[in-house]
Symmetry: C2
Subunit: 272 residues, 2 copies
């Protein structure tokens, strides 16, 4: 059990994991390099622990000590108690969720490992927006997708904002990064998955045609907001699928589109 340690010097090296949290570019480089990620808020910190991530340290204001008492009692890592103003000085923002934890990253599984037990996977290409990544993981977990594969240039699911928006789903849905793109998709097909590319193009068939019932061994490919899937990715797919649109609208937000597609392939009408 950890005895909370009061820290009152913002330059204390023990707080190094939490410095400059609002500098996205800095943190994007630092966190993977230093093998850590930041969990924010009571619920997300608990979920990271339940998912088996080891805690490096925790930083919280005094009024959160009671709410986090059981987590503190189980912690073997140091727990730092600081004034809210000091937390703001260190991190660069007002930590209104009151508690941050620095967690140790675990090695990512390989794509074949992830695919071995999955029935339905999400494949993201070039999704760089941390909010969208988090939202897609949250919907994937809720709507019956078993795993996620990322193109090499997708943003980090363990970045603080992604973790928060996902409500911790980045901990529960296994994911892997493909080493090559789109060549890495061949391994997905060889593992027995049909590659469905979600695209608004007229040449695509509608979801209700392609997925009249819950599907198995399907890999649903999603591109970034705005740009969508690249031509190379579309060419690598087995089939193009689109969400039928009304009222002359040409696109959905990528999070909404993903949720609809997950529902259609994973939790739509069970096969009779």
């Amino acid at each position: 059990m950890a005895e909370p340690i009061t820290v009152d010097d913002p330059a204390d090296p023990r707080l190094h994991d939490y410095t400059g949290l609002t500098d996205v570019e800095l943190r994007r480089r630092r966190e993977p390099a230093e093998g850590l990620f930041i969990a924010e808020g009571e619920k997300v910190i608990r979920r990271a622990g339940e998912a088996g991530y080891a805690m490096r340290s925790m930083l919280l204001s005094a009024k959160w000590v009671d709410a986090m008492r059981d987590v503190i009692d189980r912690a073997t890592a140091p727990v730092y108690v600081v004034e809210p103003a000091l937390a703001e000085q260190v991190t660069g923002y007002h930590v209104h969720r009151g508690a941050l934890a620095s967690m140790q990253r675990a090695p990512l599984p390989s794509a074949p490992e992830v695919l071995r037990t999955a029935r339905r996977v999400v494949v993201m290409e070039s999704v760089n927006d941390h909010t969208n990544i988090g939202a897609i993981f949250r919907s994937a977990a809720a709507l019956g997708m078993d795993a996620v594969l990322l193109s090499p240039d997708c943003a980090d699911p363990l970045y603080r904002r992604s973790v928060k928006v996902s409500m911790g789903a980045v901990f529960s849905v296994p994911y892997a990064r493909l080493d090559t793109w789109p060549k890495g998709l061949e391994a997905v097909r060889e593992a027995g998955f049909e590659l469905l590319a979600l695209t608004p193009g007229e040449k695509a068939r509608t979801l209700d045609e392609v997925a009249p019932h819950r599907m198995d061994r399907v890999a649903l490919m999603l591109g970034a907001e705005g740009a969508g899937l690249s031509d190379r990715a579309l060419a690598a797919a087995d089939q193009w699928v689109r969400i039928p649109m009304s009222h002359g609208v040409d696109s959905l937000n990528v999070g909404a589109a993903a949720a609809v597609a997950f529902y259609a392939v994973a939790t739509g009408r069970p096969r009779e």
Copy 2:
């Protein structure tokens, strides 16, 4: 046709419609009281015009004059050209989309008017987040919902952020505000709509059971992120419906949940 007018005094009263745009509380009161709303960016400004809203004025930086030339040529309202720094001084933020228009609000239709021609409507209760409102309108338009009804305490769909997130769908999907809640729902039922309340409760039936095919004359009720529908609203519904969830996840983001429900009731498998 309007001849662009260069303005270089941030206190110029002609720029009054654009002052303090980052002060949400102020703008929430001012805009409905003064009968205006703000459209931001080329695409949204065009859509507001196409939807028939009258322009009060437009504010843009010099480099946007060419891109907006046709809009300027058609405009009878004054068009103000300002330096980006002045735009920031007036509005309170860096207007990176380069163009703002102040548009005249039109009287809202009544609920019966909106219901007369709709087959599927969204009913929102206490949705106060402008981003969520915008996202729900965008999905509603794309996924075949014909109209929106708002409880008295929902936020304003014409607030700048909602308009932007909706990509202009707040202009194309007719909406009305119910005067009383939940009593106002009676008029919806009397107009022949079945009231389906979306709720994660175990007592709810799953979407695929309730909506095995595209539905007609259905009013889909949504509550706010976190709180969900109130007990009073749930009691006023005809039926409770839930999205089946996996992996022990207890909820979806309200935007994702709305998109899935719209797809299921409006664009799912056509009735055979």
